[in-house]
Amino acid sequence: MRLSRDTLLGIAAVALAGAYWHETTGIQRSLLSDEVGADGVPRLLAAGMAISGLALALRGVLAPAPAGGDELPLRAHFRAAGLLAILALYLAALPVAGYAASIAGLLAAVAAYAGAPRGVAMAATAVAGAVAFWAMFVLLLGVPMPRGTWPWG
């Protein structure tokens, strides 16, 4: 049986509310605290999220409706996950390879992944783009971007 979008969202909301409530039990008590306490409002929010989620799930079961959201094929989700993996790699490379090399790599990898023809032109555009970003953030705005662990660093 295929779950409706409301049911899926409802289940996710209830699960999130449960996890969030569980986290509230770890909030410290403070002598400076007021009557409501640091965990008071979060617990209200967890309850509100759970009730909304339950109502959504119920609506999804009783009256499944295709309202809202837009359908994408499964392939699109994998494409999005792939793009995310490239971005995660960029983040991991940043402290090691430094900003200039990482951003050039990011530009080339994302463009290639999104369909750019591979070759010298692509590499040249990525390098030119990286130089432009480096000039804007490091030279113009004076942001101390990571220099990497290069021997000449």
């Binding site: 605290s33 007021d34 409501v36 309202a67 809202g68 999005a80 995310l84 971007m145």
Partner: protein, 478 residues
């Protein structure tokens, strides 16, 4: 107005026109992309830059709407109906000229409404006590009901998610850490800017990577032609209709430029001497929606500046710009930073005038940009996001958070959860919780304090009425 503010207005308008001209890049995304870069700027320069992006994007959105029947922004969708028909008749330059001047008329009219309406409203709000501020936050959250795209429950889930995000960090009363998972990076909370950039920009790119590219625009027949006296006689009435509807829709949180543009188009057709021309290349069908969606760029700021309630995605990003500089929009803004408010008004005026000048020369580079391969646009936008977010605090953790919120935004789109309630929850969460608890400290824990304060009571009744009306409307629709 200083030279730097004027330069910010020009840069914002140009960036906005380019951003608006790119299908998939909404005004709020164009603004969110610039948001991290505003950290090092003077507050007034930063705010004018962001507000000018909004102004420019509304005109920019009409360029692909007219040339390739693909609205660059949602609010330009109504312009495609007649704009593209005019382009097919070889009158694209005329349509673009009408769009530009109608946007100017709308923008200046909206600015006049903003200046006249905001300060009186804010001065009323000056007498607010903690219970009234709490009630104001609740009123802001009740807007969710009308922002939920036809599903109040989904809007509520989004709002609770935003409110939960707002509780991360140090508790505003006792100072104990909450939901930080032992990470010092989370002790200061999650800045709204990170949520916005993730939900708007990263989520859009995750989606765009699997969508086909948009059509190419032709540079043929696109020399921009401003309307002459005879044309002005035809378009002033639809422009006036657009101004009236845009004012109403702009100050109403949740309505926004798209609704205003379609309503203005519809009313312009109803009141036109040539209603049969609509849909077949009517100049009035371009003038009305373009005036309306540009009025909204200014009037949507009325609830933001006077009460601190952002009624649209773009207003929410602008709110993020204020928060970046330690400024809180609302009644106190007029007391604490009157120079920023005055600078914003002057900047918006300059932005509208500069939009006319930039619009005359920017068309060719715009067409060039629209025709760039989409894969490079995605690559450069993501590089800008990663670089800009890192630059705020030199924190790779922040970049990771933005990517995380991008995934959340992508999932929300798939599940039909509207974005704006999440943003409202994030930006209003602190105000609601801190004033709720402060009020109870003042009253010794007695909740009657919220009913005893007349302003608080009035706002809570208004919030209840707004929510009830939305529930009733949704029930009727179903």
């Amino acid at each position: 107005m200083g030279l730097s503010t004027l330069a910010a207005a020009l840069a914002g308008v140009v960036w906005g026109i380019f951003g608006g001209a790119l299908p998939g890049i909404s005004p709020s995304i164009a603004m969110a992309l610039l948001l991290p870069l505003t950290y090092g700027m003077e507050p007034v320069v930063a705010i004018v830059l962001l507000a000018s992006v909004y102004v420019g994007a509304e005109y920019g959105g009409s360029i692909p709407a007219i040339l390739i029947r693909t609205p660059g922004t949602n609010s330009a969708a109504a312009t495609t109906l007649d704009g593209y028909e005019l382009a097919r008749q070889g009158r694209a330059g005329e349509a673009l000229g009408i769009s530009l001047v109608s946007g100017l008329v709308g923008g200046l009219f909206g600015l006049a409404v903003l200046v006249l309406a905001t300060e009186p409203l804010a001065s009323v709000a000056l007498a607010f006590t903690p219970p009234a501020y709490f009630a104001l936050g609740v009123l802001g959250l009740s807007v969710i009901a009308s922002l939920s795209g036809g599903s109040l429950l989904r809007g509520l889930v989004g709002a609770f998610l935003g409110l939960m995000v707002a509780t991360v960090g140090t508790d505003p009363v006792s100072g104990v850490p909450r939901f930080t998972f032992g990470s010092p990076d989370l002790l200061g909370g999650i800045r709204p800017i990170l949520v916005m950039v993730g939900l708007f920009a990263v989520a859009e790119m995750l989606e765009q990577v699997s969508l086909p590219g948009w059509d190419k625009a032709s540079a043929r027949d696109t020399r921009l032609r401003l309307p002459g006296a005879a044309m002005w006689k035809r378009i002033w009435r639809p422009q006036a209709i657009g101004c009236a509807i845009g004012t109403f829709e702009g100050v109403t949180p949740g309505a926004g430029g798209t609704v205003a543009a379609f309503m203005a188009y519809n009313e312009a057709r109803r009141w036109s001497a040539k209603p049969d021309e609509f849909g077949k290349g009517s100049v009035e069908g371009v003038a009305a929606p373009e005036a309306a969606n540009n009025v909204v760029t200014a009037t949507a700021l009325v609830p933001l500046l006077s009460l601190g309630i952002p009624g649209s995605n773009s207003a929410a990003v602008l709110l993020g710009g204020f928060l970046v500089h330690g400024l809180v929009p609302g009644p106190m803004l007029f007391q604490k930073a009157p120079d920023v408010v005055a600078g914003l008004y002057a900047g918006l005026f300059a932005a509208n005038i500069l939009m006319l000048l930039a619009g005359l020369v920017i068309l060719t580079p715009c067409i060039w940009l629209v025709n760039r391969p989409k894969h490079w646009l995605i690559a450069f936008i993501l590089a800008l996001v990663c670089s800009g977010v890192y630059a705020i605090e030199q924190s790779a953790f922040d970049v990771g958070l933005v990517l995380g919120f991008g995934v959340v935004g992508y999932a929300m789109r798939r599940l039909g959860v509207p974005v704006l309630p999440v943003v409202l929850g994030v930006v209003l969460g602190f105000m609601v919780e801190s004033n709720y608890r402060r009020s109870l400290v003042l009253s010794g824990g007695d909740h009657a304090i919220f009913a005893e304060d007349p302003v608080s009571l009035g706002l809570l009744v208004a919030a209840a009425a707004m929510t009830a009306w939305s529930i009733y409307r949704e029930a009727r629709r179903q």
